[in-house]
Homo-oligomer: 139 residues x 4
């Protein structure tokens, strides 16, 4: 079962570099936009987690760039939750052209849970996240 969301991003003038193409670092913003859209749709937002006492910083990020994006382009970010039994949130991302469906970039991220006050790493999944997985993944 695949839990994913598609979100449209439009390249801002200030995101393109002197070569006229999007500076690679901005793809991490697009991934974050995708992650937030996913979180809103499936009730897994940063602010929601914070209210429950947790923050979920990234511990790993990866991106492979296939084709460049230019100023004015529109692209789709598809964000998919990947099941991991550990106390981690794993997402994979595909950025593609809405017309040709050609892949522009692919990547993944890994997040862990910290107590929002003590900043202590949570070695087992917070209860809310176990509930979330049960609800959304029918496991």
């Amino acid at each position: 079962m695949k839990l994913s969301d598609k979100h449209s991003v439009k390249v801002r003038f200030n995101e393109a570099d002197p070569l006229g193409i999007v500076w690679h670092g901005h793809y991490l913003r697009y991934f974050e936009d995708g992650r937030e859209a996913f979180g809103e749709r499936y009730d897994l937002s940063y602010l929601g987690m914070y209210k429950l006492g947790f923050i979920a910083p990234l511990v790993s990020i990866h991106c492979d760039f296939k084709r460049s994006l230019k100023y004015g382009d529109t692209a789709i970010v598809e964000t998919t939750y990947t099941y991991n039994p550990a106390a981690k949130i794993n997402f994979s991302y595909k950025i593609f052209d809405p017309i040709s469906q050609g892949i522009l970039a692919e990547g993944y991220s890994v997040q862990v849970f910290l107590d929002k006050d003590t900043k202590e790493l949570q070695l087992s999944s917070p209860a809310f996240f176990e509930e979330w997985k049960k609800k959304h993944l029918s496991i």
Copy 2:
């Protein structure tokens, strides 16, 4: 009497836009770099103020762009404190070419003081800032 600091900035690849020149919004980063260098030199840093219980958000910013900066260019940001008897911090900025001395941009900023916890606007200058002005401006 002029209280100012000169700080060198180098244009990063990711700060130039598709026209090959620095995107105008980045000049506010250079102003901030200048403000921080000034704060370190004259003991008026964000972190120092925070420890004393205050934050100093900007309420006004202005920039006039004279000549463009390109990727790889180095420029000097001259940050000057402008005396204001009110509970405000006023800075003016000049960005210039270190070789020709030609002006590339000019601007100014105005900051107010808020209590860091209550976020309440301070209608009179915090004591530390009155001391600071006395010490540095010989007034």
Copy 3:
């Protein structure tokens, strides 16, 4: 007669600073978002001008900050063209809360025209812009 456009922006996680509020420099991105939305609606886009042989860099920008924006907030950017008979594009901006209608920030920008190849400053308005003003301002 007022020529304006309203565009919604949502504060990204990475646009808020350690105080939890939007870093002031990002307002220039919101102004640019507003300017682009205006350009799309009234046929005055960067890419359109470029095809006609012109670029229109900013020569002046100003912003007054009234109330802060936080991560997760949505705001409306109202971008209004201000008539200027000279070879300049003048916009004013209002950023406001969609619910309370309270003003969060106000500002303005001034752009000039350069030949896209020679980068020469255009002392009189390009023909296309005179046409544009006639069409949209009924002057």
Copy 4:
């Protein structure tokens, strides 16, 4: 034989997020800062390549985050060229605390060569890069 450069970065106020720590996307700027410092030291700069007719966009980037950086922190970016016989530029990065020497982040990047005009992918290394490897790696 290890070809590497160490470059100091200082966390800007506007690079820290609402949690008070550097937003993960900015690490790619630090990697780029490291890559540019390496390029200046070992004569492998973007502008130099451009003059020879090539651009070298990233095709892959990876970062593992170990410990967070805060506003005001200083860190060292160690950028190391990793030999690859193919028409690619491989770098690895270590960001560490200058005092404790503790690792804050690690990552790598892969770049390919494109003709700067045709944007065509170069399947074999440009002559200048083969020369560069001979000179610097004594191979």
